[in-house]
């Protein structure tokens, strides 16, 4: 058992410098709900843990540019408890609220959910549908990336050594906008998604869908943005025919694996159903917000 160093820097610059300068394996510690389990199982043996929960940008939820910026180390429970945020983004909030038990939600973070890079991460499709942009800080400074461009496969991300996802920016909400996230699991609580579907849409004054984004979880090696599914909604009143086309586009985009949670065929079919239902909820929410 080797020594493991623990650091709790107060600034992003200090955190980046610790991670970039580490000789051995260094890991960011946010909620620890994945990392501590991997450590316990011996799957990772970090030389350095960088606890980023003392960094203000990473732990706050603030209004910015008419939208919201929230830190990558904000816990699911903090998002759920933030009234203005959960009112503006009910889909993102309900996705964060599906992650694990009360105990897990008190610790688990959206940044960790993204960077752990499980294809079944619940908050990721909701964030992708919302058009969230991650602000990433690294040895070469700060850059922005769309959430859909961060996870590349199970356990793998596009982040370079020393880079940290610091925060997420959610854009201003036009009137008549709604989002929703649905997950299919074979029970009512505490399970891993068989399929997840996030839909975010905006209606124009006549009730026609003017913008849409659709994202899927657990049906590919990473969460997918599905432009063809969004195209099935845009320009329509999100009626039964549009929802049917949405479902077909979603099923066509799936490339799932067979596992104990579900077969390929099952996931492909259920993804279409979940996306249709999520779109209906997003539509109802958009109609309530004139």
């Amino acid at each position: 058992m080797s020594d493991m160093r623990y650091e709790a820097p107060r600034t992003l610059a200090a955190a980046v410098s610790l991670l970039a300068g580490a000789k051995g394996h260094a890991r960011v510690l946010a909620g620890g709900t994945d990392l501590l389990i991997h450590m316990r199982a011996g799957r990772v043996e970090p030389e350095l843990l960088v606890d980023i929960k003392g960094i203000p940008e990473m732990t706050s939820i603030v209004a910015e540019g008419g939208g919201f910026r929230f830190g990558a180390a904000v816990s699911s429970m903090e998002l759920l408890e933030h009234e203005a945020f959960s009112k503006a983004w009910p889909g993102v909030t309900e996705a964060a609220g599906l992650i694990g038990s009360t105990q897990i939600k008190g610790r688990a973070t959206v940044g960790g959910n993204l960077c752990n890079a499980s294809p079944a991460a619940d908050s990721v499709p909701a964030l992708i549908a919302a058009g969230a942009v991650a602000s990433i800080v690294g040895p070469d400074g700060r850059r922005e990336a769309r959430v859909e461009d961060i996870a590349t496969g199970p356990g793998k991300t596009s982040l370079a050594k020393g880079e940290i996802v610091a925060s997420f920016l959610l854009p201003p909400r036009p009137p008549r906008s709604g989002d929703a996230y649905l997950r299919f699991i074979p029970r009512t609580e505490m399970d891993i998604a068989v399929v997840g579907a996030g839909v975010n849409l905006t209606l124009d004054e006549s009730g026609v869908c003017s913008e849409a984004r659709v994202s899927l979880g657990a049906v590919a090696e990473r969460a997918l943005l599905v432009p063809d599914a969004a195209a099935a909604l845009i320009g329509t009143r999100v009626d039964a025919e549009a929802l049917e086309r949405l479902g077909a586009a979603v099923s066509a985009a799936c490339r799932p694996i067979d596992d104990k949670r579900g077969t390929k065929e099952y996931r492909i079919k259920v993804a279409g159903v979940m996306a249709r239902r999520a779109a209906q909820i997003a539509l109802d929410r958009a109609r309530e917000k004139n």
């Binding site: 623990y6 709900t33 501590l36 609580e189």
Partner: protein, 157 residues
């Protein structure tokens, strides 16, 4: 490399301990501070037996490092009764026989208290969802839920 020196507040009292980075708060509580009321079930955050609150937030102490406790306020089952006077939840658990083997009980009590602090009048469904991360292999949960609801009624006065 030496151990970290951690200063924390435990059940209202200032406590100091030394710990290695890899030691969880659960290990510190049980093995270093000899507070064995907090139980280890799975060690992976699935069962809730090791539930504590940190700065008022319900967590699994097996998924929290001892070094992270620096400057925090931690509440464990040992701080629930006031001397010989049981907390209403503890009393109701006895009255309703809401426990059998008892391993899950400290975690369930801590979680239930955390619920009632936020929501003094929860529905049965709210109790069941809040306690979904506290597994009990004996009771079948009904008596636990009844005890929590009864304690909530009494505590509302």
């Amino acid at each position: 490399m030496g151990k970290a020196h951690v200063t924390t507040t435990l059940n209202g009292n200032a406590v100091e301990f030394l710990c290695e980075t890899r030691q969880t708060l659960l290990e510190i509580l049980r093995d270093e501070l000899h507070l064995t009321g907090t139980k280890e079930g799975c060690g992976t955050g699935d069962c809730g037996a090791c539930s504590v609150t940190v700065d008022g937030r319900l967590m699994c102490s097996c998924l929290f490092l001892g070094v992270e406790a620096q400057g925090k306020s931690i509440q464990t089952i040992e701080g629930m009764a006031e001397g010989d006077k049981l907390h209403p939840l503890q009393r109701k658990f006895l009255e309703h026989a809401a426990l059998q083997c008892g391993i899950c009980t400290p975690g369930v009590l801590i979680a239930a208290r955390s619920l009632l602090e936020r929501n003094p009048d929860p529905t049965e469904e709210e109790v069941r969802y809040w306690l979904a991360g506290n597994l009990c292999r004996c009771t079948g949960y009904n008596k636990i839920v009844e005890a929590v609801l009864d304690a909530a009624t009494e505590m509302r006065g």
